[in-house]
């Protein structure tokens, strides 16, 4: 545990799956040198197998004080090879060839976009942006036999020392979110750095700053005026993903509300389209209370009453979503 912890809240009711965060991250950090297949930040459709494929059943995390075994995702089958396309033939020559990947693909970071689950008229899905959770109890850090992974005291950011890493990949197996990627060209493992060079200058992470939906809040958990403290500790509407993995993640999610499902007669049933059980599987036992609070505050707002929670989630002013100031002494 670090002295301070920077965290992120992602409001799933506002995420439209546009992947602007994904691209903001990719163009900043992972567009070359063996990182092409890596998405330190990506948005997957839930329910679904996700990216890497079946990460939720790939093991890792904690079983009490012991690390759980995990498996290593495969490049082609689980991450997906970044495809080259037949641009030349399809676009610049007189041919009927459609634009297609040159090599057949098996998977990708957004392979099952908008697929979801459920039968018409009760199909449902939502978007789940994912990045390294900069956990309070990082399983990756504990699994490394070389102490190549460290958690910064001043902001809790978890980093891999590229000089110390020897590519053993125990961290990849240990991370239950499968958010560490082995770079086969470099021979070392890499991950989201929570844009620490930006954070040190007081600039929010690229994924958060670029989010067109204003879905991402960033602040220190001990900053009582910050969104993290308010949404996580006070309102309790922002929940960790898979808390049962035991790593105490520091990216939190406002769970998605959904319109009512239709009954056999085609009438609204009063049950949410996204089953509560499913959301509880993802975000733990706090889901019901969080959704109830959200609905109550939405109702207040729609009656014209004041709702500080809704005001915070709406984020009238973009700048209010980020509180990155540090004590003078900690500024680099």
């Amino acid at each position: 545990m670090s002295a301070r912890q920077l965290g992120m809240v992602i409001d799933l009711n506002k995420c439209i799956g546009c992947q602007t965060c994904t691209l903001a991250c990719k163009s900043q950090w992972t567009d070359r040198d063996g990182r092409e297949f890596m998405y330190w930040n990506h948005v997957e459709t839930k329910p679904g197998k996700g990216y890497p494929r079946d990460w939720e059943t790939a093991g890792g995390g904690w079983d009490g004080a012991r690390l759980k075994p995990g498996r290593l995702p495969r490049l082609t089958e689980d991450y997906g090879i970044p495809a080259d396309f037949n641009f030349e033939a399809a676009l610049f020559r007189d041919s009927d060839q459609p634009l297609r990947p040159l090599e057949p693909m098996q998977w990708g970071p957004n392979w099952e976009e908008d697929q979801g689950a459920g039968e018409f008229p009760n199909g449902y899905f939502f978007y789940l942006p994912r990045l390294c959770n900069h956990c309070t109890k990082p399983a990756c850090l504990a699994a490394c036999p070389r102490q190549a992974i460290y958690k910064r005291e001043e902001d809790g950011i978890v980093l891999i020392d590229q000089e110390r890493c020897r590519g053993y990949r125990y961290c990849v197996a240990a991370c239950p979110y499968k958010k560490i990627y082995f770079n086969p060209l470099a021979g070392t493992s890499e991950k989201c750095i929570f844009c620490y060079p930006r954070v040190e200058k007081g600039i929010p992470q690229a994924c958060a700053y670029q989010c067109v939906g204003r879905a991402r809040h960033v602040s220190y958990l001990d900053d009582e005026g910050g969104a993290l403290h308010q949404l996580v500790n006070v309102w309790k509407v922002a929940l960790p993903l898979h808390p049962e993995y035991g790593t105490q993640p520091n990216v939190y999610y406002v769970p998605p509300l959904s319109p009512p499902a239709f009954d056999a007669d085609g009438k609204p049933s009063g049950q949410p389209r996204i089953p509560d059980d499913y959301l509880s599987q993802l975000f733990g036992p706090g889901v019901d209370a969080a959704l109830a609070t959200l609905q109550r505050e939405i109702d207040k707002k729609s009656r014209g009453e004041a709702s500080p929670l809704m005001d915070m989630l709406i984020a009238y002013r973009h700048g209010d979503m980020f509180r990155l100031s540090r004590p003078e002494a900690e500024k680099p």
Binding site: P145, Y168, R169, Y170, P184
Partner: protein, 311 residues
């Protein structure tokens, strides 16, 4: 196996052990020119083959388990260049693949003891007694490294060369680099099998091997490390009387299992560990062992017992 047992019995029958058993000596051959990098070069005929047993790493979690691996080592020196030809059986080739995130390459490494009369802990050296290493991984450039304990591997200064080829059912690898004129005197080896996700401690490793002159004589500086003159039967009684097994057992988990200590350690290391148990701690274990008030003779007897203890 029977031959090994016979060898063990032979050792037991001797009143004193003037030199480590033959498997702990690699006889160095000299070559007038540069020692060859090609494992198929005729010059290798001149270097006597030492057949070494590499034991599955069992000190910390993550070892491969299973059977020991036999590795054939030959050493040729020409001037300041030392070349080692290593051959071992490995049915499946696992070469580093830049298009794979979940596979590991076959690898082999040689570890050099620092100068001095005390051999470091065989597993990656120890603080104050750093080892240097040459590492070859299939499909990767060879690396020169140093270490002073588990997890302490760092890049070394001296560049090395390697050349590998697949034999009928395994690898033949030559590692070549510069060494100081009179060093090294001891080497140890490790091998990783990509097929069983070998990396880090998921390996098989040998005991220290003396690098001896062509005559096979043990280097003078290692005589004390190799000396073993105790009475194993008395050592066994003392081992029971002191209750060593209460901690030194796999199920206790409080101290390294000593069942195969004699396969991987030299008498000098065992003596040192009995005399000053906390001077060097095997990583992962706490400084629990007291320095027992033992006579020199008791220490010799215990050492003799541990060296000869059947696995």
């Amino acid at each position: 196996m029977r031959a090994a047992l016979f060898g063990l019995l032979l050792c037991c029958a001797l009143p004193a052990w003037p030199a480590p058993p033959p498997e702990r000596i690699i006889r160095l051959a000299e070559t007038p020119g540069e020692p060859p990098l090609d494992p198929a070069a005729a010059a290798w005929e001149r270097a006597p083959a030492a057949t070494l047993r590499l034991y599955p790493q069992a000190t910390i979690a993550g070892g491969p388990g299973g059977e020991p691996l036999m590795l054939e080592a030959r050493a040729l020196r020409g001037g300041t260049r030392l070349a080692l030809r290593l051959a071992w059986a490995d049915a499946g080739e696992n070469t580093y693949d830049v298009h794979a995130t979940d596979r590991f390459a076959d690898a082999v490494a040689v570890q050099f003891a620092p100068p001095g009369k005390t051999l470091p802990y065989v597993g990656m050296g120890e603080p104050g007694r750093a080892v240097s290493l040459w590492l070859w991984r299939a499909g990767r450039p060879p690396e020169s490294l140093t270490a002073h304990g588990f997890g302490s591997l760092e890049r070394g200064a001296a560049p090395i060369e390697a050349h590998a080829r697949r034999s009928a059912g395994g690898w033949e690898v030559v590692l070549r680099g510069r060494v100081a004129a009179h060093a090294p005197v001891a080497l140890a080896f490790a091998a990783w099998d990509g097929a069983e996700d070998g990396r880090a401690g998921r390996k098989r490793l040998s005991a220290w091997q003396a690098l001896a002159a062509p005559t096979g004589a043990l280097p003078a500086s290692l005589r004390e490390e190799a000396r073993a003159g105790g009475d194993a039967a008395r050592g066994e009684r003392l081992y029971a009387k002191l209750g060593c097994a209460a901690c030194h057992a796999p199920q206790a988990g409080l101290a390294p299992d000593l069942a195969s200590a004699g396969d991987i350690h030299w008498p000098g290391y065992l003596r040192r560990s009995i005399r000053e148990p906390s001077a060097f701690l095997v990583p992962g274990y706490a400084a629990l062992m007291p320095a027992f008030p033992l006579q020199a003779e008791d220490i010799e007897n215990l050492t003799a017992y541990l060296m000869k203890r059947p696995p």
